[in-house]
Amino acid sequence: MNERESEADVLEACRQGDRAAFHLLYESHKDRVYSIALHFGGDPSMARDVTQQVFLKLFTTIGQFRHDSEFTTWLYRITANACIDEQRKRKRFVPFSPALEVSQMAAKGSQEERYDRKQMADAVRAAIAELSPKLRLPILLKYVEGLSYEEIAEALGCSVGTVSSRLNRGHKMLARKLSHLRGQFAAGE
């Protein structure tokens, strides 16, 4: 059974109300949904709320999923909407917190390397948090979930051209904000 057939089976089981299938689906996608929410809002409590909302919404409306688009596209459309709604509810953007703990920080390497990686990750997260939401979401969908431009367009309800334009602007703004790190990449990092 290939991956696609397997996912189709899990989705069908979810439609039938199978709680174990829900859990499987949750396990497959929870970290990426949480990461998008965390990097979008910069606040773990908001990320937690958004992730809960996304999966509750997913499980209660899975009967409406019509297979005319990829499941991940549908999931990330719900995620993007939940991020935007939650941000509106909280009225103001929660400032970036440098104390966020993320899994990659426990990656292998010397203490110095880990420190450098953490510094870099913090700088990137801070720079992404300063992007406007319309530039931030395509960047997150591209680099956290690895969606194609077409999938991002479908998830955000805009054209592929718009995605391309927003990613272009997002990349340029990141490069401008973090131009002092250019040397690290040029040195082959």
Partner: protein, 390 residues
């Protein structure tokens, strides 16, 4: 200008990600070899992408699944009186058909009292909708149709011809009416709610997995919907309001005119191919003779709004259009953007000139493209303008 269009700056991210066609990628690569300016841009794009790749993946808190399960359990408990008809829909197998039939007999025997507590699910709704308007309906008939929970918020309301002061059900085909001093709340399946102001009347037209539809015949309703776009619809005498993930107030007067005011997200108004996209903070009037007018922000100058109304609905022609253009502020480029697609070719030049004077023409959008109503350019311009609009 000719030189400028040969540059490839706009497509460098797509080039980097392998999202261009072979031919476009080849041309972009060749251009990069020749053009230092675009090469510098490409270096920035590459740096931005390399940085974004360093974005770490976070782990969802371990206890989150148990929290979600608890919430799912709580939702399940709310639906403890699950409709037998749902089981009928979940499977086509013959023995479930028999079970559902038996359950139906049970419901008929024990009357509508039990069924009033049932929260219908999208599954049972799809099999039972009845899209035509009906008159009074018996309790037995109601048990056969999907329904939404309704509640009187003040005074007495009429649901399906019966007076109600507490909670009840609004079945497909039935109407809900409020009086001078009464108000009501309607739970829209599992996707949101609608509040109905005094002297209003709605009808439930349809409720299925893919479409929930009300008709607002008169009065005022406030909708708050949390669902994928294009799942909740409201018919009015002059247009159809299509939810794109939002909250809004919709009012219909005695002549069939409607007024939409969006308080969150976007709503689309449509009739006979005429469309208006109305975002948060914007309004739009519709009339039975014309359909949706041109949307405008609720803080738009009074003179602009009056002129726009004359242009849209009273054959105000060029005079009204010139007034609209004269009083437009940069934020009203939202209204002008819509007007571009509603005016003739001569008028479009005037609208475009005014937009350029107010907000300029962004990179990637050309005068000719706009005048020819190039959909991609209009979309790109709209995208660029949202920092001015919001």
């Amino acid at each position: 200008m000719k030189m400028f269009t040969r540059h490839v700056a706009k497509q460098l991210s797509a080039y980097l990600h392998g999202e261009l066609s072979k031919e476009k990628a080849r041309r972009t690569g060749e251009h990069l070899l020749r053009c230092e300016r675009c090469r510098r841009e490409y270096d920035d794009i590459k740096l931005g992408a390399q940085l974004a790749e360093r974005l770490p993946l976070a782990q969802a808190p371990a206890e989150m699944w148990s929290e979600i399960e608890s919430l799912l359990d709580a939702q399940s408990r709310e639906r403890v009186y699950e409709s037998p008809a749902r089981r009928f829909d979940l499977s086509r197998r013959w023995y479930l058909v028999a079970a559902a039939s038996a359950a139906l007999v049970f419901i008929i025997i024990f009357g509508a009292r039990l069924f009033r507590n049932v929260e219908p699910t999208p599954k049972n709704e799809i099999a039972q909708h009845e899209p035509t308007q009906r008159g009074e309906s018996s309790s037995r008939e109601k048990t056969m149709r999907a329904s939404w929970e309704v509640e009187s918020l003040a005074g007495k309301i009429r649901v399906g011809g019966e007076t109600l002061s507490g909670t009840g059900r609004l079945a497909v085909g039935d109407s809900l009416e409020t009086e001078n001093a009464s108000r009501a709340k309607i739970k829209v399946a599992n996707i949101g709610e609608v509040e109905l102001e005094p002297n209003s009347r709605v009808r439930l037209i349809e409720t299925t997995q893919i479409e929930h539809r009300l008709a607002l015949d008169r009065g005022t309703m406030r909708a708050k919907i949390n669902a994928p776009p294009r799942l909740f619809f409201v018919n009015t005498p002059s247009a159809e309001a299509i939810d794109l993930g939002c909250a809004y107030t919709l009012e219909v007067d005695d002549t069939g005119r409607s007024f939409l005011h969006v308080t969150a997200g976007w709503v689309m108004l449509a009739r006979d191919g005429r469309e208006a996209y109305v975002p948060i903070g914007a309004m739009c009037e519709t009339r039975p003779s014309t359909g949706p007018g041109t949307p405008y922000f609720d803080d738009a100058p009074r003179r602009l709004r009056e002129s726009l109304s004359r242009f849209d609905f009273e054959y105000g022609g060029d005079d009204a259009l010139q007034e609209v253009l004269r009083y437009a502020r940069p934020r009203d480029s939202f209204t002008l953007w819509h007007l571009l697609q509603r005016v003739n070719e001569v008028e479009r030049n005037f609208v475009l000139d005014r937009m350029i004077a107010l907000v300029g023409l962004p990179e990637g959008v050309t005068r000719d493209g706009v005048l020819n109503l190039d959909p991609q350019m209009l979309e790109l311009w709209k995208d660029e303008l949202d920092t001015v609009w919001f």
